[in-house]
């Protein structure tokens, strides 16, 4: 498989591949890096958000 890199398309077999996962309450993330002769030539990441943003509505009784 050919990988898009900073030096153009390079066959994956010629590259060193590193992968990682981050999984916490905020996100589930996977990433992949390809290195060629000690240089990072490709890095992709896929972040899945877990943490929403919320507004809290309230209606107060009158004359409490």
């Amino acid at each position: 498989m050919l990988i898009n890199t900073t030096s153009g398309l390079i066959d994956e077999t010629l590259l060193e591949k590193k992968t990682g996962i981050i999984n916490n309450e905020i996100e589930h993330t996977t990433w992949v890096e390809y290195w060629f002769e000690g240089e990072l030539v490709h890095r992709s990441a896929h972040v899945t958000l877990k943490q929403p943003v919320c507004a809290f509505g309230a209606a107060e009784k009158i004359g409490g």
Binding site: V41, S44, A45, V47, T48, P52, V53, A55, A59
Partner: protein
């Protein structure tokens, strides 16, 4: 049954749909939904609740196949209500292809592209990322009252 003070659940979704204006508002051009955009910000971007409109301060540079202003957000599903909450989630992932980020980034601003001033809606953060000749995909959480991306509870 006793009366109880409440922020009516449907009203929460109606606010999301722009059906209430409790202060001075704007004349809308039509009844269609607004177009939302998403822009990426550097880890030094200082984005947060104080944002009022989109601007490019702290945004990724317009290099490496990134266009400042970001990209359109797919919004096939309008706000919904359940369990006393209103919620909304973009209906597709955001994908930047063939990207080389100008520096590390960790936030996305979702804003109203239709509004004249590009009103800010929400900021979402994640672990710092740098992309090199690659793809950055931002996938949304499940669209429900518990995990929906934007909620009024």
């Amino acid at each position: 049954m006793a009366n109880v003070p409440a922020f009516c659940t449907q009203a929460k979704a109606d606010f999301m749909n722009g059906l209430h204006a409790l202060g001075a508002s704007v004349i809308r051009a039509g009844t269609t939904k607004d177009t939302l955009y998403a822009a990426l910000y550097l880890v030094t971007g200082s984005r947060g609740a104080g944002d009022t409109v989109y601007n490019n301060t702290g945004e990724l540079a317009g290099t490496g196949n990134y266009t400042q202003g970001g990209m359109a957000v797919t919004t096939a599903n309008g706000p919904a209500v359940a369990s006393g909450k209103a919620y909304f989630t973009p209906s597709a992932s955001l994908v930047w292809s063939a990207l080389t980020s100008s520096a590390a980034f960790d936030a996305v601003l979702i804003y109203n592209y239709t509004s004249t001033t590009k009103l800010a809606i929400s900021v979402h953060t994640f672990g710092s990322q740098s992309i090199v000749a690659g793809t950055f995909t931002l996938t949304m959480p499940t669209n429900n009252e518990t995990t929906g991306l934007i909620r009024i509870e």
